[in-house]
């Protein structure tokens, strides 16, 4: 499967509307990158974009591009007007979520003007998936993160007491021995949930034969998997702090624990997926694993 330069050239010529419109999304995306995506809470943005681009390419392999009809062009124009209103409003009231919607509207417009509604139907999922890169307002993030933080801290305390360590909890602050550990927003794992979901979808699309049931079940399972990994990370960091001191807990090992958490999450995801397959085969929902 070599790269046919002529075919690639013809392909980009057909998709020039989308390519051109993508350049218009760069200022908005750059702002997201500077602001929301650089925080611990919402660093999943670029990963979602990478995954979405991959899914985009995947869906469009071998797709014959047809020019849009006049009606479709008209709809694209309407979509642009809506998108532009969202962009201006989003900037005036400082709600990047609205600018994010505008970016997605632009991409959809580019797809329609390149390949009509047929292309839009083919790529509806990667476009829909982009919704997860939209920077959320701080209040929404707090609203989602607060219960997650409580679950992670109480889960960690349960495990630590079960293995006999001296630990108590005051809200989201853990008292471990003589140390106080604050379960911060990053530990709640909001962005690791999003990232694991994204990677889960890539994993499933690589398998190609994944049934709907398997996709739904795995997507649902990733939420508890992610929370569990975060609980394990807090437990690990608490033990490190307790036995190796505060500096160890806050220093290099903190980042290391983060990576470990992620690997644990990925491994758990593969394990759970294997289990899901076994169950689905047993139930006769799918033919083979």
């Amino acid at each position: 499967m070599g790269v046919n330069l002529n075919a690639a050239f013809a392909y980009s010529r057909a998709w020039w509307p989308l390519i051109l419109l993508l350049t218009f999304t760069i200022p908005a995306l750059a702002e997201f990158f500077r602001e929301e995506w650089s925080t611990d809470n919402q660093s999943h943005g670029p990963i979602i974009i990478a995954v979405s681009s991959y899914l985009f390419y995947f869906k469009l392999r071998g797709f014959n591009v047809e020019s849009p009809s006049n009606l479709e062009i008209f709809y694209a124009g309407l979509l642009t007007i809506i998108g532009v209103m969202f962009l201006v409003a989003g900037r005036v009231i400082d709600l990047p979520a609205m600018s994010g919607v505008a970016v997605i509207a632009t991409i959809a417009t580019g797809v329609i003007l390149s390949g009509g509604s047929a292309a839009l139907r083919k790529t509806w999922f990667p476009i829909f998936f982009l919704l997860f890169m939209i920077p959320l307002p701080a209040t929404v993030v707090s609203y989602l993160t607060a219960p997650l933080k409580l679950v992670v801290s109480s889960g960690a305390v349960m495990i630590l007491s079960a293995i006999g360590e001296p630990v108590s909890r005051q809200g989201v602050t853990l008292n471990v021995g003589q140390y106080k550990l604050l379960v911060a927003d990053a530990c709640a794992g909001l962005n690791s949930i999003f990232t694991l979901e994204a990677l889960g979808l890539v994993y499933l699309s690589l398998i190609e034969s994944a049934s709907k049931a398997r996709t739904v079940l795995l997507t649902a399972a990733i939420l508890p998997i992610s929370i569990s990994s975060n609980i394990i990370r807090v437990v690990a960091l608490s033990l490190i702090t307790l036995y190796l001191g505060d500096e160890a807990g806050q220093g290099f090992l903190h980042g290391f624990a983060g990576m470990l958490l992620f690997l644990i999450g990925l491994v758990l995801m593969l394990v759970v997926d294997a289990l899901i397959c076994r169950i689905l085969v047993l139930l006769g929902v799918i033919k083979n694993a």
Partner: protein, 225 residues
Amino acid sequence: MLKKLAMLFVCSMWLSSYIGSELVVPKTLYAQAHPFPKLENAVKNTYGNWIVDPNSRTQIVDPRLASVLAETYTDQVSRTYVDQAGRRIMLSISYGDDQRRSKLHLPRGCYEGQGYPVVSERMRDLDMRGRSLRVHEMIARRGDSEQEYVTYWVVYGNQLASEAFGSRVELFSQQFKGVIPDGILFRVSSIGGTDEQFSANYDFLRSLFHDETSAFFRRLIPERA
């Protein structure tokens, strides 16, 4: 042909929206035209029968929490007052001069995060020396039998905006008018066991806001538009 025209339309719409939004983005701070009084000086140590509790002067705050607070608010004051009957009121006023850069945090999140679950929250209309004041009454659990009775309200610019949803709309509409609002979070609370505890809060408020002509009063309890 139509496709090329459409692309021209779309691209020019996007270009003009980027340029247009730069022009329309609010840049004036409300706080610049309406400076906020320095809280340390504006809030006195005596109000009628209420005096600052000398024993509660120093507060040890977790340094991480202190840095979060310093980032969010540009001015803050926290004092505990006692009256002759021994009732204790905790007063906390937090001010942020730029609600675009950093928005004030509503009490519910702070209380829950520190381990004081919120038991209930409701709205209440008060009359404070001729001005209507709509406040939140929030009850948080402090111990086995004790609860903290919190009365708070929020002011953006010159508008009282306590309702959760309404306050967002208020923030947006002020920005659409080209002004970046400042934000005041006013909070009084006391510890008790029954709803009656709220009346202690209001007794204190009536003493605190004894002078309806003062700038302090007019800023913290703005007139309804």
